[in-house]
Symmetry: C2
Amino acid sequence: MLTYDLSRREGAPLYDYLYRCIRGDILAGRLSPGERLPSKRALARHLEVAVVTVENAYAQLCAEGYLTAREKSGYYVNLIETRTSPPPRPAPRPAPPEPGRTWLLDLKAAGGAPLPFSVWARLTRQALSEQGTDLLRPVPHNGVPELRRAISDYLYRFRGISAAPEQIVVGAGTEYLYNLIVQLLGRELTYALEDPGYLTAGRIYALNGAGCASVPVGPLGPDLEAVEGSGAQVLHLSPSHQFPTGAVTPIARRQALLSWAERGAGRYIIEDDYDSEFRFTGRPIPPMQSIDHLGRVLYVNTFSRTLSPSMRISYLVLPLSLVERYRERLGFYSCTVPALEQLTLARFLSGGYFEQHLNRARLYYRERRDQVIAALEDSPLAARARISGENAGLHFLLTLDTDRTDGELKALAEARDIRLSLLSDYCARPRPEWDRTLVIPYPALDPGRMPAALAALVEIL
Amino acid sequence: MLTYDLSRREGAPLYDYLYRCIRGDILAGRLSPGERLPSKRALARHLEVAVVTVENAYAQLCAEGYLTAREKSGYYVNLIETRTSPPPRPAPRPAPPEPGRTWLLDLKAAGGAPLPFSVWARLTRQALSEQGTDLLRPVPHNGVPELRRAISDYLYRFRGISAAPEQIVVGAGTEYLYNLIVQLLGRELTYALEDPGYLTAGRIYALNGAGCASVPVGPLGPDLEAVEGSGAQVLHLSPSHQFPTGAVTPIARRQALLSWAERGAGRYIIEDDYDSEFRFTGRPIPPMQSIDHLGRVLYVNTFSRTLSPSMRISYLVLPLSLVERYRERLGFYSCTVPALEQLTLARFLSGGYFEQHLNRARLYYRERRDQVIAALEDSPLAARARISGENAGLHFLLTLDTDRTDGELKALAEARDIRLSLLSDYCARPRPEWDRTLVIPYPALDPGRMPAALAALVEIL
């Protein structure tokens, strides 16, 4: 008869402990396939427990397939393939956090103008109280209507884009949206990316199995001949402030690129308008989407950059020609952004807070940029470096006058506690004119620590 | 000389209006390529505006590439490809919402036990006040540590899963996680899915360009020979409550499926444990992950189902063998769930509220299920229908005794304002044994309206 020490069950319910004991015996082979277990009554008497306890344990073993109950006959052990079972793995210990190195100057650091958190928190609380349990209802696949309407208004007023809320798809970050775009347009196509450029986009297209090509960019944007020669059907661009060169594609090149798209069936342009909110001279550059009359531009932008990286809210503006295809192919996907964040952002936009935040952020960035540039100009580095791309976006370039290679610069800087970000880091194919050029993410830098860092930097040239 | 009626600018800044006028003339060809514009002073005098106004307008036109400034010479119109520009599209009107049909009985409806919203709202407010601006910091790619620790604890205590927080990846919904899984394991592999089964998973694998196969499931789960014969490397299963048959894969079949995975290099099982929280007899069935000693099971579950569909929080438990590969290939992706939701959920889990909610929800579902089953048993349909799969999950099956085809049943029901959900809707390949079987999502049904609906239903058999 099965005998178990039920006093060792350490607070577990009796039936549960008994179930575990019998299961252990079956898995260990101590109870053989085909063996008949004692009747419920007999085992209950033997173990001095209630019949219902054994009944529950047997029922669970039947539910999981360890036993079979045969009517009027009893409970039999099933044949279970014995697998070599190494001892249960201990759960791995958390890896110790990488010791954070403290840099004198870190050009890979991220930073931005602080979001007015108290306003955001207040709007979140309002949305919680006013929407209440409505927040628990399913969200339309392309985002809550209030947010899509607010984005549509914002785009019309500030970016010259005329897009109906139906053209807008809200998603948890641009990375996620790039995945959807490949599923929309197709992975059998070739996606051309700017070189140098935003490497993550290329990585995502490649991870999706799409073909990738690279197109060199110059001061006037992507090279037209290279676009034609790339064999690509889809062109990923950041025309209003190219990352990382800062180039603004002029209107003639934009028109030519649109003509390229219109000349081939199924050609599209993905316009990444990131950082377009931050232009420090004149008005913002109108996006290509606003001069695209044949529906070849998919416009992408994000609030993660303007609000906070911990809030993954981005959006895609589909050309009218793709709205129906999107709904049919991808409309089954649930929207990835929670209702609460969407409704809070809708309030933030339509209440005018986003505009206020952008105005403040522009002042903050302009001041920070001027401080960093002033520190540069006051330093001995000024004579051996040239600034470019400083009129827009959240970084500028600094080309150094030196004979050192980029690899040497990096190693020498690191020995002086300086982490460099080099234009060549963003190149698919190295080109001499992109060498010896630093990418300066000025919002993340502390102007007070610049003089020491710049002095160290000039020593290594 | 350029002449514009500046009084028509309707509140726009002067320079901005002037910029738009000149831009319009260039695009319309009224100003020709190579043409020299009047000097800033001359135009300012002519239009009776300040020189700085013209200066700003010219600067913007230069920034966008409409003009080139030549030193000591003046401003010249650039050559811009004229494209056929149809009149600006009007933004499409929102499509009128589809008239919602009111059904007497809707088996496609969704519904669930209400989340204790006041508790959730309170924890959200707490997280907002206590975490403050920490909420704005970037989130680790696999989720905030507090949430991964809370999930790890929950899995250990309630699902018998021993997984370190490092094995857990938090993402915005299981659909998103399936996309990541294909990018992790590879789209050159074949993914086998249960038939009948959760069709969305197959749709996502196919959209990702992966090969798909289907494996028939019976009362004991997926057919082993079919698994072997499918040529698949990856098997997508819901072993603890198969959707939609409700079958529980017994331990012997689970062991055999694990052995299948262990026999081939690169074979994996994706265990979809959805609905496992809801089992109404005995204890929950332990997941395959808990008996997988060689690291072949990727475990997936979601909080969207247990909390609210508007909250997209799901998680993936990687086997130890894939943690490093995941980090290398996909660790660059930003986490798709906002910090606020993650920290609120961490509090909800570690404060014991989730457990309380599940206990209440189980009672709610059991009661609702019993009411729906009672209504069935009291109706004339009882004599012509058989219930199965009612011990677990949030639906059960009702097999009808009728000669009608599924298509006839659907059409006849619809004429009586009843929308059916049929087991054959979830089949890749039709099989007679799955015909004439309704999928009953009982949490979404109103027991009060059942008698009338069931009387109508029996008429059409």
